[in-house]
């Protein structure tokens, strides 16, 4: 090892960072090398200077300034959270308003629309039960009452009431729908029954009633 290599060992040994085995080797070299001895002495002096920095008093004004800056920084960082809380609250209010408005303005579509929007697959699904429902499914009093005029009309003008099925027959999905259809057809002949009710004519009003059976369509002629 050269003196240059021993300098590094001296630099560690001066603060006790050198392992014993290497320290012993260095000790032997120092006994023989005056240059390294001198370097070790000078290194101890510079180390004393370095370590004296630890005793250097901190500038109190500097410390206070840092502390104030940190506290201000913490306060500033808390501000956005408060702002975010406000934004969150505002957003929640807006969402609630939109939901309220949607619920208030929303009008559920009536059964007639269901009937009008009926599609072939609905017919297929209901087809097996349709003939039975046509006569028997009118179990409730409401349904019976609703269809009473139809039966009467059928008796009065059977040849006119029963016609061949239209190409795109309209029918109710359920018996309840049909009852609603009939009920509405009485109250709103010109409103939601636009598709079923023929345009009013000066002399005669014709009401078209749809049954579960797509082959049976009842027309009610009113004077």
């Amino acid at each position: 090892m050269s003196c240059l290599d021993f300098e590094k060992l001296i630099a560690l040994d001066v603060e006790g960072d050198l392992p014993e085995r290497k320290a012993a080797k260095l000790g032997q070299h120092l006994k023989a090398c005056r240059n390294c001895q001198a370097f070790a002495e000078r290194l101890q002096a510079s180390q004393a200077l370095v370590k004296s920095l630890a005793q250097e008093p901190a500038d109190e004004a500097m410390l206070e300034e840092v502390r104030q800056r940190v506290l201000r920084g913490i306060a500033a960082e808390s501000e956005p959270h408060r702002f975010q809380a406000w934004r969150f609250a505002l957003g929640a209010v807006l969402v609630a308003t939109v939901i309220f408005a949607a619920v208030t303005l929303w009008r559920p579509r009536g059964p007639l629309h269901v009937a009008r929007a009926s599609r072939p697959q609905s017919r297929e699904r209901l087809a097996p039960t349709a003939p039975r429902r046509g006569q028997d499914a009118l179990a409730t009093a409401g349904e019976a009452a609703a269809l009473r005029p139809v039966r009467e009309t059928s008796k009065q003008a059977p040849t006119q009431a029963v016609r061949p099925a239209p190409t795109a027959p309209e029918y109710s999905r359920t018996g309840t729908d049909r009852a609603s259809l009939v009920f509405r057809s009485r109250k709103q002949p010109r409103g939601s029954l636009t598709a079923s009710v023929k345009p009013p004519q000066p002399a005669q009003l014709t009401v078209k009633l749809v049954t579960d059976d797509p082959n049976v369509v009842i027309y009610w002629l009113l004077d």
Binding site: K8, A11, L12, D17, S46, L53, A58, V66, V70
Partner: protein, 202 residues
């Protein structure tokens, strides 16, 4: 509580409170829970170590203040992730080194070397022929600037802050062997810097 705080600041260690851990632990716990007053006490307790370490690492007062501020702000930001059972000081040292590294990277690297040369020229002028204590410190401060960033961090933590080599290795995320090598190189460099200065004087 006042006397506890005084004890904290003077001795650096907190008195034990029977059955409830040290006062320092309690203050740290409260500070990490968001108590501003407790956090203020934590700053009071550790600001000297953080600021002076940053000053040694950066060599500039204003930057050291910026670094110290950032270290405590990071502690506040990440307080929920801090394990209160672990000692705070090593974490603060590690954060100080990291923040100073970031600041150092932002500053152009040749700046530090140039500053060291300027200081050396200034220090070489000594009309009285004697080196005062404050001047000695300036010499060492200038010598620190001639070190690499890692060497400087190792020597500041080991020799100035007085930490054990093992702790320095833990803070810097290096092996003890690496830290020993950095310390050794740094001490030799400092000695040679002072030798050069003395030769100029004579």
């Amino acid at each position: 509580m006042e006397s506890d705080e005084l004890a904290l600041r003077m001795t650096g260690s907190a008195p034990e409170v029977e059955g409830s851990g040290s006062v320092e632990e309690q203050i740290l716990k409260r500070a990490l829970a968001g108590d501003r007053v407790a956090f203020d006490r934590i700053i009071l307790r550790y600001e000297r170590q953080v600021l002076m370490t940053a000053w040694r690492l950066l060599g500039r007062r204003e930057e050291a203040q910026d670094a110290a501020q950032e270290v405590f702000l990071r502690l506040y930001r990440y307080r929920h992730h801090f394990d209160e059972r672990r000692p705070l000081l090593p974490w603060l040292y590690r954060m100080t080194v990291n923040v100073c590294h970031d600041l150092h990277r932002k500053r152009r690297q040749d700046d530090a070397l140039a500053a060291g040369e300027v200081d050396q020229a200034k220090l070489a002028y000594d009309p009285a022929g004697e080196i005062t204590r404050s001047e000695q410190r300036r010499i060492i401060q200038a010598a620190l600037k001639t070190l690499t960033e890692k060497e400087r961090a190792a020597i500041v933590l080991r020799d100035i802050e007085g930490l054990a080599t093992k702790d320095v290795a833990g803070i810097l995320g290096s092996s003890e062997t690496t830290v020993r090598s950095q310390i050794s190189t740094a001490r030799v460099k400092i000695r040679k810097f002072v030798d050069t200065l003395e030769r100029k004087r004579s």
